[in-house]
C-alpha cells in the first residue's frame, strides 16, 4: 500500500491544474528513481501519493497513469480505476447491510464490508441509539483502512461533531461512476460542478468510492442530472459544456 510510509492526504485536496508529466508505466523505470525533485528549502521530504511507493531511497511507480505534482513536495499518479480500495481518511457513501448488536455492517464497494459502530454518530450514547435501518445510505469517513484489517467507519470527526456525515438520502437517486470522475467532482474549482450548477438547482453527495447521490426538485430532473454525470466521463470540456447548455435550454 503506498500509504504506509507517507503522510495521509485527503484526496479531495488534489487538484490537477499543475504541471503534469508524461505517462509513466510501472515497468519503465525498474528500480530507478523517477524524478529529480527540485528540493525547496521549505520541504526536505517528498510526499508520495497513490501510485507511488517508496523503496528505501528510491521512489517506484506501481500504477500506470499520469504523474502529477502539487508544490511544494506532493507527487502522485492519476490512474483510471473503477474498483474502490478503502483508504484511511476518505469519505465514502455506504449502504447499511446488517444491523447486529453494537455495529452496523456497511457496504462501501470494496472487497470487504466496513463496520460502523452505533456510538460513532453525533450525540449517540448507549441509551440514545441512532436511527439507522438496513438499506440506509450513510456518509462516513474511514478511521482504519488497510489490507490486513477490516475497515472501520465513523460518522463524526475528531471533535465529536457530525460535520455533514451521517444518514441521508430520502428521495434521491444513487448511482455509480468511475473514481477519476469523482476526484474531478471533488476538486476545489471543479468545472463540471460549475457547469452543472447552471442547469437547475439540485443537491449532490459525492463519495470517494465512486458513488454519487443526487436529488433535484422532480424525479425527472434527478434522472437528468444522474444521466449527465454518468455520460460526462469521457467527454472533452467543449462537448460537456455543449451538452449541459442544451439540457439547460430544454429545461427552462
Amino acid at each position: 500500500m503506498p500509504w504506509k510510509n507517507a503522510h495521509v492526504f485527503s484526496p479531495s485536496t488534489f487538484y490537477v491544474d499543475r504541471v503534469c508529466y508524461t505517462k509513466i508505466l510501472p515497468q519503465e523505470t525498474p528500480g530507478n528513481c523517477i524524478m529529480r525533485v527540485p528540493l525547496d528549502n521549505k520541504a526536505d521530504k517528498v510526499i508520495c501519493g497513490p501510485g507511488l511507493r517508496r523503496n528505501g531511497d528510491e521512489v517506484l511507480v506501481c500504477k500506470s497513469g499520469i504523474l502529477r505534482h502539487k508544490p511544494p513536495n506532493l507527487y502522485w499518479i492519476d490512474s483510471i480505476q473503477k474498483r474502490y480500495v478503502p483508504a484511511k481518511g476518505e469519505s465514502v457513501i455506504g449502504i447499511v447491510t446488517v444491523k447486529s448488536g453494537d455495529v452496523f455492517k456497511v457496504d462501501v464497494g470494496g472487497s470487504e464490508q466496513a463496520s460502523l459502530s452505533y456510538l460513532a454518530f453525533e450525540g449517540a450514547t448507549k441509551r440514545n441509539r441512532p436511527n439507522v435501518q438496513v438499506g440506509d445510505l450513510v456518509y462516513a469517513q474511514f478511521t482504519i483502512a488497510n489490507k490486513d484489517m477490516e475497515p472501520e467507519l465513523v460518522c463524526i470527526d475528531s471533535c465529536g461533531r457530525a460535520n455533514g456525515m451521517g444518514v441521508f438520502g430520502a428521495d434521491g437517486l444513487l448511482f455509480k461512476v468511475s473514481l477519476g470522475l469523482v476526484r474531478r467532482l471533488l476538486a476545489p474549482q471543479s468545472d463540471i460542478v460549475k457547469d452543472l450548477e447552471k442547469t437547475f438547482p439540485f443537491e449532490m453527495v459525492v463519495g470517494m468510492n465512486g458513488r454519487v447521490w443526487v436529488r433535484a426538485r422532480t424525479a425527472q430532473q434527478t434522472l437528468i442530472v444522474a444521466n449527465l454525470l454518468e455520460s460526462c466521463e469521457n467527454m472533452t470540456t467543449q462537448q460537456r459544456q455543449a451538452l449541459f447548455r442544451r439540457v439547460a435550454d430544454r429545461v427552462t
Binding site: G135, D136, A170, L174
Partner: protein, 433 residues
C-alpha cells in the same frame, strides 16, 4: 464476490419514478433498449446486445445415436451458463434458482415450440442422428437475460450450417466443407421471448426491465411468440395476481415487439450472408465500431507519397543484403510452431525505433520471409516508411487476430463438437479485448 445491496432510497426513487412513467434511461414504457446482433467467423456463433446486457450463443453439431423412443428424430440440447463474469451475484459451480429458471424457460421456448425440424436431422434411422447443441453464455448482466438469450439462441440456430451427409447403401459419408457446402438447419419459425415486469401489485408495467428495475419489480411475465402470432410459451413468476385483460394486453404488445425483433434478426442474417458471399470480412472484429475508446485498431496514419519512386529506389540501393530466412512457421513438435525466433533482425533498425514502430503499427505484421525485399526502413527518424513496389512478394497486411481465425477455420473443417469448447474460449477472449 457479493453483489451491491439495493439501498432504500434507490428503491423508493425507482418506484416513484415508475409511477410517474419515468424510466432510468429515459425510455418509454413499451420501449426496448438497443438490440445489436453480431456474428462470429464460425457459423452458429452470435453475440446479442440488449442495451448493456450481452449474451453469446454458439451452436455445434455431433453425430450420436438417437433416443430409444424416438429413433428417427435428432436431438436438440440447450444450455445456458451464468458465469461470474456477467455479474458478481452469480457464482460459478452452484446452480442458482435464476439459472434453473432461465434454462427451463429457454428450453420450453425452443424445444416445445418445435421450431427446429428434428426429423431432418436423422441420418440413419435408429443409429445415427445429428445432435444440435446450443450453448448460451451470459457475458454481462444488465437485466432481461431471458430475452437476450432467446434472441441469441434462435439467431445462432438460423445462422448455423451443418456438414452435408451422403448415404450410399450401408456407407455414410460426412463431407468436409471443402467437398460440399455446409447446409443450414431447417427452422420452421423463430420464437422470441418478451419480458414484462410488474410493479405495485400489477398496477404498472414495463417492457424489457434493466437490472435495477428487475430488483424492485414485484413479478415478471415472459411470453414467447413468433411473428405469426402463435404463443410458444408463457410464464408468470413472482406470485402477483394478473387480470385476464392484463395478460391479453401483454400478448398484444408482445406480438408487435416480436415482429420488430424478427425483422431485425432477419436483416442481420441477410447482411452476414451477403458479406460472406461477396468474400468481404466478417466476424466480431469487423462489427466493432472503430470510433470507440476501446477500439483495438489505431487510426490509419497518412503516408506521404511525394517523390515516392525516387525514394524507393534510393532505399533499395542503400540496403544491405537480406539475411537467411526460414520458411515460417517451423513445426517443432505437433501442436507447436515457431515463427521468426532466433533469427537476425531483418528490419535494420536500432532498438529504440523498433519499439516506436511496434507501438504504432499493430496493423502490419509480416513473416520473416516477407521482410527483406518488400519492406526496408531507414535508420533516420524523420523519414517516411515506404513499402516498395517489389513484385516478388505479396505484402499481406494482417489484422490483429485474423491469423488466429484463419488457423481455426482450417482446423474446424471436418472436426466436430470436440473443439467447440476451445472455440468458445477463444471467442470469449476476443470479446474480452
Amino acid at each position: 464476490m457479493r453483489e451491491t445491496p439495493l439501498s432504500n432510497c434507490e428503491r423508493q426513487f425507482l418506484l416513484k419514478a415508475i409511477e410517474e412513467k419515468k424510466r432510468l434511461d429515459g425510455r418509454q414504457t413499451y420501449d426496448y433498449r438497443n438490440i445489436k446482433i453480431t456474428f462470429g467467423t464460425d457459423y452458429g456463433c452470435c453475440v446479442v446486445d440488449v442495451g448493456k446486457t450481452r449474451v453469446l450463443a454458439q451452436v455445434s453439431c455431433e453425430l450420436v445415436a438417437p433416443k430409444d423412443n424416438r429413433p428417427t428424430e435428432g436431438i436438440m440440447f440447450i444450455n445456458l451458463e451464468l458465469s461470474p463474469m456477467a455479474s458478481p451475484a452469480f457464482e460459478s459451480g452452484r446452480q442458482s434458482e435464476l439459472h434453473v429458471t432461465l434454462n427451463r424457460l429457454l428450453e420450453r421456448c425452443l424445444r416445445n415450440s418445435k421450431c427446429l425440424d428434428t426429423e431432418s436431422l436423422c441420418v440413419v434411422s435408429g443409429e445415427k442422428v445429428w445432435k444440435i447443441r446450443i450453448d448460451v453464455h451470459v457475458l454481462n448482466h444488465d437485466g432481461n437475460i431471458m430475452d437476450a438469450a432467446s434472441i441469441a439462441a434462435i439467431t445462432a440456430l438460423c445462422h448455423f450450417r451443418r456438414p452435408d451427409v451422403g448415404i450410399q447403401g450401408e456407407e455414410v459419408t460426412i463431407y468436409t466443407p471443402e467437398e460440399r457446402d455446409l447446409i443450414p438447419l431447417s427452422i420452421y419459425h423463430m420464437p422470441v421471448s418478451v419480458s414484462f415486469s410488474f410493479f405495485q401489485q400489477g398496477t404498472f408495467l414495463l417492457v424489457d426491465p434493466c437490472e435495477r428495475e428487475e430488483r424492485v419489480m414485484d413479478g415478471l411475465l415472459v411470453i414467447a411468440m413468433n411473428k405469426h402470432r402463435e404463443i410458444c410459451s408463457i410464464q408468470s413468476s413472482g406470485g402477483i395476481m394478473l387480470l385476464k385483460e392484463q395478460v391479453l394486453r401483454c400478448s398484444k404488445i408482445a406480438s408487435v415487439k416480436v415482429c420488430e425483433i424478427t425483422e431485425l434478426i432477419n436483416k442481420a442474417l441477410e447482411n452476414d450472408r451477403k458479406v460472406r458471399k461477396e468474400g468481404g470480412k466478417f466476424g466480431f472484429a469487423e462489427s466493432m465500431a472503430k470510433e470507440r475508446i476501446t477500439a483495438l485498431k489505431s487510426e490509419i496514419a497518412p503516408v506521404e507519397m511525394i517523390d515516392i519512386e525516387e525514394k524507393a529506389e534510393d532505399i533499395i540501393c542503400r540496403t544491405g543484403a537480406p539475411c537467411d530466412t526460414v520458411p515460417s512457421p517451423v513445426v517443432r513438435a505437433p501442436g507447436t510452431g515457431q515463427v521468426g525466433e532466433g533469427l537476425q533482425n531483418a528490419w535494420g533498425l536500432d532498438e529504440m525505433e523498433e519499439e516506436e514502430e511496434e507501438e504504432e503499427d499493430d496493423i502490419e505484421q509480416g513473416g520473416p520471409e516477407k521482410q527483406p525485399e518488400s519492406e526496408t526502413i531507414t535508420s533516420k527518424k524523420g523519414d517516411v516508411v515506404v513499402i516498395s513496389d517489389s513484385e516478388e512478394e505479396e505484402v499481406v497486411i494482417l489484422h490483429q487476430g485474423v491469423e488466429v481465425k484463419d488457423f481455426r477455420e482450417e482446423m474446424s473443417s471436418g472436426q466436430k463438437q470436440a473443439t467447440s469448447a476451445s472455440k468458445k474460449k477463444k471467442k470469449k477472449r476476443k470479446l474480452a479485448h
